[in-house]
Amino acid sequence: MSTTVLDQTAAAGHKPPKPHRETYLDAWTVKSWLLTTDHKRIGILYLISITVFFLIGGVAATTMRLELMTPKGDLLSSPDAYNRMFTLHGVAMIFFFLVPSIPATLGNFLLPLMIGARDLAFPIINLMSWYMYMIGGSIAIAIILFGGIDTGWTFYTPFSTMFSNTLVVPAAFAVFFAGFSSIFTGFNFIVTVHTMRAPGMTWFRLPLFIWAHYATSLIMILGTPVLAIAVMLIAVERLLRVGIFDPALGGDPILFQHLFWFYSHPAVYIMVLPGMGVISEIVPCFSRRPIFGYRFIAYSSIALAILGFIVWGHHLFVSGQSMYAGLVFSFLSFLVAVPSAIKVFNWTATMHKGAIRFDTPMLYAIGFIGLFTVGGLTGIMLSTLAVDVHLHDTYFVVAHFHYVMVGGAVLAYLGGLHFWWPKITGRMYPEMFGKLSALAVFIGFNFTFFPQFILGYLGMPRRYFEYAPEFQVLNVMSTAGASVLAFGYGLPLIYFLWSLRKPPSAPANPWQATGLEWQTESPPPTHNFEFTPKVEKAPYSYSPVAVEGFDGYGDHGSH
């Protein structure tokens, strides 16, 4: 290994030096990070990169919320500045934060550990995935520096191809590269789950986190190429004036919406399915109960992945698509309610007769269930034809998808980050501050986005720089809530970094959890396991009565 290995236990100071245990974090040269093929290190690279984009997207969101404090445009100099701001927010948050968030960080880190493998099937492709992401991300940052784009993250044609005077083609390439990073990740996950499970790790002993990631990966490899094609066609029409989408050139503008949503609706499940996987790990662990309805939850992930591909037309009810297409897409969209309900009810039932602990991950998980429920139910309203005619493109839609993507995906991401932080870094986070952040995020989130449901039904359209004065009160409420939300987000950022100042001291299994990832040390050695683990029982074999004396699968990493 590298010559600059830092002996972290020795750095701890005056305590009697423990014999050094090799971990994946030992090498600290730049080269050891940039050329690593260790799935755990690539997970960390992703964690750092997506945090940068989360902050960029967050600054854009803050600017928008401040601008919307008053009906007139006053903070930003022009409507163009605002339009660039919401486009930046959408592009950064969707393509560079939410899509890779859980799969590329926690998924990358945990998937091999959870199935008892040494790494992903294709470690070099895994590293290439991060480089693809970084190429896309660098283009995105260059776009910001050179003036931004104003098409919205949806790139609707012919505005994006023939009318916008901003950097649409570079943005298309940024999305294209980011897309390939998720294709590589998805492909890698699928092969790994098929071929690298430890002895005894049958399909129905897989943690539900793995089922969720398997379903997500299917969407990534089947949906993302269509997005790649759609954005490349934008570049072709814009650069070469080939009539694809603009009717003035003989194209069809609705065609773009079909292509775009064929990816971007399934992408909603790319964002939320991994989160559901996280919740399925946290809830049983902190309820000390085996998960309720394991197979139903597993199959519902696959069902969501499949259904996700046949409902895209519900984004087009008022677009001029055929009325009959509207009827079919509305019907299919209602079917999504079933697998979503399965998850929510099974998580709730898991708590029955448990011995529930309220550590930070569990608080985030409970928050997730509540907010995802609201997001799902309002999604049902938007699937309803006559109601959607009124609600389409209003703040109701904005509120709905934030409930799913922030209330769902981001809360799960934060919950998962707290849950596995000891495993990833070997450090515990301060529990009190963790609870405070979970509370602040939950309250701040609701204050930010609940008023937007009302705004939407009142008729306020989205993407408005200036708005009618009667909408002001609700907008001020929303902005006030956003400040609490920002506080909630800021806390973990600070205390997670702060926790790194001390050498690793977290036990291998601080939560007495049953997954294979907890059988190895925190942080894990480079090769994950000292011995190939053998799996002999079903996952989630928790027991509420044995809480006190539980020593899980070897608290000290022994076998």
């Binding site: 409507p79 163009d80 339009n83 919205g152 609707y156 505005f159 023939m162 009318f163 916008s164 009717p247 503008p253 000390r288 085996p290 309720f292 309805g293 008022v318 677009s319 001029g320 009325m323 009827l327 019907f331 209602f334 079917l335 309610a337 079933v338 309900a341 929510v344 709730t348 039932a349 708590m351 029955h352 007769k353 448990g354 011995a355 529930i356 602990r357 309220f358 609201v374 139910l377 049902i380 309203m381 309803t384 034809l385 006559a386 109601v387 959607d388 005619v389 009124h390 493109d393 209003t394 039904y457 009142l458 008729g459 359209p461 993407r463 408005y464 720089f465 200036e466 509420p544 009565v545």
Partner: protein, 316 residues
């Protein structure tokens, strides 16, 4: 001065129907949210770690429970689907005899012309209690015509017509918004819909002066663009007469087959801009394309003219 509305005014015939369905959905959603939240709170309190409570014989799995909580959302979903679909389906087509209004959207304004001829910008005056049908197109990007108080919205596309109809039920002034992001001044691309008593509406139309109606303007354009030369009796070129054509079935030659299409606004538009794509059976594809030569408002006027002669006999 406590004024905190939760819904916009109900000012059209469909608005109360949409609101009723929405209230039903809010009710069902509240019921299930409260059910789920209360259960979670109860479990987290009752079964908190260390609480002295019976935890013996937990249910590990239950097919009955699983089917129940799959079945109930499915049934409620289907009720909502059929309810929403029925409303959408029934109100899709404008009733016959609706007042015709043309809308041309462009970055960032709405140009609106009434069939009697009066035109206005970013305002739409309509009479109370009469169905109004908008035929809409865009000169540039996609826009969306949205009147929250009527609960109606329709995207307005370049290169084709979409339509929207409503019947106002309340005199007043209501927001008109562009709901599809369309560039710089998207949020300023709005205005007002003014619902007036029918008598006031007549007065308002007359205030515009006694100019020509849309159809009359269209007839002038019909002559100007030399449509009349062929379509009105000149025997040098063999072209179909247009009297009595609008709204009827037209036989179209496609290779050796003949099929029928309805001569609606879309068909007339396509026949002017892409005449070779749908040639009437028995005629030669001689007509040149007028693509790029006639503005969107003029096209709508010509169509209004062709519509105005729909009642006349087709001369042979």
């Amino acid at each position: 001065m406590w004024n905190f509305p939760l819904l916009p005014e109900q000012a059209s015939t469909v608005a109360p129907h949409v609101d009723l369905l929405y209230f039903f959905q809010v009710g069902v959603s509240l019921f299930f949210s409260v059910l789920i939240f209360a259960t979670i709170l109860y479990f987290t309190y009752h079964y908190r770690e260390g609480s002295n409570i019976d935890r013996s014989r937990p249910i590990a799995q239950s097919l009955l429970l699983e089917t129940t909580w799959m079945g109930i959302p499915f049934v409620f979903g289907m009720i909502m689907f059929f309810w929403g679909a029925a409303l959408f389906y029934v109100d899709y087509e404008a009733p016959p005899g609706a007042l015709d209004v043309s809308v041309v959207a462009k970055q960032w304004m709405w140009y609106i012309q009434h069939s009697q001829g009066r035109a206005e910008i970013n305002e739409l005056h309509v009479p109370l209690g009469q169905p109004v049908k908008l035929t809409m197109t865009s000169q540039d990007v996609i826009h969306s015509f949205y009147i929250p108080a009527f609960r109606v919205k329709q995207d307005v596309l370049p290169g084709r017509y979409t339509s929207l109809w409503f019947e106002p039920t309340k005199v007043g002034r209501y927001h008109l918004f562009c709901a599809e992001y369309c560039g710089t001044n998207h949020s300023a691309m709005g205005g007002w819909v003014e619902v007036m008593e029918p008598a006031d509406y007549e007065r308002w139309l007359a205030e515009g002066g006694t100019g020509p109606s849309m159809a009359q303007e269209g007839e002038k354009l019909f002559v100007q663009h030399h449509c009349a030369g062929c379509h009105r009796g000149s025997q040098t070129v063999h072209a179909p007469r247009l009297e009595g054509v609008f709204g009827k079935s037209v036989p179209i030659q496609e290779g050796k087959d003949v099929h029928f299409v309805t001569a609606d606004v879309t068909y007339i538009r396509d026949s002017i801009l892409r005449p070779k794509s749908q040639v009437v059976a028995g005629f030669e594809p001689l007509m040149p394309s007028f693509e790029g030569q006639i503005s969107e408002p003029d096209l709508l006027r010509i169509i209004a003219y062709i519509k105005s002669i729909a009642g006349e006999e087709t001369p042979q």
